[in-house]
């Protein structure tokens, strides 16, 4: 039994690993698996809204995986916490880089180039086409990924403050017992 504010409830995190994995794949689904429905829906809507809105702002270009100089996409570290976008981005990276390594082959990313890294100066064109909206889309998707990191942590370990309060209460009880 756990307490939060004045309410009491039981919190069954079920299989924490599965919940975290589901939460990584699709934001909020880990919470739905644990039966924390309202929270799962809130997380799903919030993170998905930010992520999709960010993608929309940047014409679907803001999320891609590339760690090769000069295009080191460090923002992908944050975006990768939304697994359903991170997996295709990593696959596209491997496909495009593999094709680039072979001079004879024509570079042809999968799925019409969605989540694919820019090819030979293409990124300059993206900036020219989308102006500040490319950066804005990057920010939105990056923040959405970081928020999902918190959500994954919550699915795996339970709410942060709740358990800290419980630990503090137990410490206080222990000190009280010693004094008696």
């Amino acid at each position: 039994m756990a307490t939060d504010g004045e309410l009491e409830f039981t919190l069954d995190l079920k299989n924490r690993g599965v919940a975290a994995l589901l939460g990584w794949l699709v934001p909020g689904v880990g919470h739905l698996y644990q039966g924390r429905t309202s929270k799962g829906i809130a997380i799903f809507l919030s993170v998905s809204l930010l992520f999709i809105f960010g993608l929309q702002l940047s014409g679907g270009k803001a999320v891609y995986c590339s760690f090769r100089s000069p295009d080191v996409r460090w923002q992908f570290i944050g975006q990768a916490f939304v697994g359903s976008a991170a997996i295709p981005a990593v696959v596209q990276n491997r496909v495009v880089r593999g094709q680039e390594a072979d001079p004879a082959s024509m570079i042809k990313p999968l799925m019409g180039g969605k989540f694919a890294p820019p090819i030979a100066g293409e990124r300059r064109q993206w900036h020219a086409d989308y102006h500040a909206y490319f950066q804005m889309g990057t920010l939105y998707t990056f923040v959405a990924g970081l928020l999902n990191m918190f959500a994954i942590f919550d699915a795996y370990c339970g709410p942060a403050v709740l358990y800290q309060e419980l630990a503090d209460d137990e410490e206080d009880d222990g000190e009280g017992d010693e004094e008696e």
Binding site: R36, L49, L50, Y140, V143, F153, G158
Partner: protein, 78 residues
């Protein structure tokens, strides 16, 4: 004090600077979603989550406002 701030805002806005003013509205979904998810990952009860989300949202807006004022003041020396 108010007149000084009004002057800063008016001068900072200028004729061309206001063209991108509506971009500030992009902050709203970002602050709403961030505060809601942050609150939800720290508590389990929706009453407490709501209070936490309002607190975090207010802090985010205040912080952003402070950064805006600093950037505005710095822009006068540019």
């Amino acid at each position: 004090m108010m007149s000084f701030l009004s002057l800063l805002i008016l001068l900072g806005a200028g004729p061309g600077a206001m063209s991108g003013w509506e971009q500030v509205f992009y902050l709203i979904p970002l602050v709403l979603c961030t505060s809601l998810v942050y609150g939800a990952t720290r508590h389990e009860d929706w009453k407490v989550i709501t209070v936490e989300a309002i607190k975090v949202g207010t802090w985010l807006l205040l912080l952003t406002g402070c950064v805006f004022v600093v950037a505005l003041i710095l822009s006068f020396f540019n």
